[in-house]
Point group: none
């Protein structure tokens, strides 16, 4: 079998901690986490910045020194608001990674269900647009994505 990246294990652990909490946030110690997963402390920062970023709907606060901690909370935003923010942050052109990131974020924040997000990722992937090149490809991609998102929030 294939080995799961440590980063994913840590992310799962943190997510579970948030889910299990009654306050809606997890308060953890960086060094303790690093010890638990046998990694260097800075990997925790990597996990936080790639998996619990503001774009993904999380807020992270921390404190250094004795008794220091990291607090990770899920931020709630209305679906419509999230989509509007996503639309705002998209320019006139978007590469495949940008489109996918946007969609994954919407999916993870519960705005789009997984299947829908995956369909949209397929629609905006390089494979679907492979006969286009460079700037034009990225422009069309952005256009398609925007049209889909607008359609999504238009009753």
């Amino acid at each position: 079998m294939n080995k799961t990246a440590t980063t994913d294990l840590i992310a799962n652990f943190i997510q579970s901690a948030i889910d299990a909490s009654t306050e809606g946030f997890a308060e953890l110690q960086r060094s303790a986490l690093a010890e638990m997963f046998s990694c260097v402390p800075s990997q925790i920062n990597y996990v936080l910045s790639t998996r619990f970023s503001p774009e993904r709907g999380f807020s992270v606060e921390s404190r250094r020194g004795g008794g220091g901690y990291i607090r990770i909370a899920k931020v709630h935003e209305s679906a419509r608001e999230s989509v509007m923010n996503a639309l705002d942050s998209l320019g006139d052109a978007a590469d495949a990674t940008a489109a996918e990131t946007t969609l994954r974020n919407l999916s993870e924040s519960g705005v789009l269900d997984k299947l829908t997000a995956r369909m949209m990722i397929a629609a905006t992937g390089n494979s679907a647009l492979k006969s286009l090149e460079g700037e034009q490809r990225d422009q069309i991609r952005a256009s398609i994505l925007k049209h889909m998102l607008v359609s999504y929030v238009s009753e």
Copy 2:
């Protein structure tokens, strides 16, 4: 003795892995496969693009970096047929009307829910593709549609 092409051996292996899985998809590592079949890693990409393409009813997702993988999924059997028929009748190019008609039909036959169909119509409308012209526009439209539909009916 007649020697079977390595590509076919790899394709068979992947197919078996999908069939044997309970989740309906196989998650494999490119480098491990290459090692297993004593070929260069890029041959795996060749196998994927010639044997597990959307046209053949598969969707492929992957991730790079440590713990990276390739996930190959086969479409849902039930929805597959109507989608494949739709794709067959569309061909390599489709105008906006043809795309929309196809999607409305799929929506009415219950393969797609209304919202999803509407988003797909938005993605393939002339408005979304306005910077393209003529035959190219219709080809891209067909490609996008194909990728969305196959993705949608994949496991």
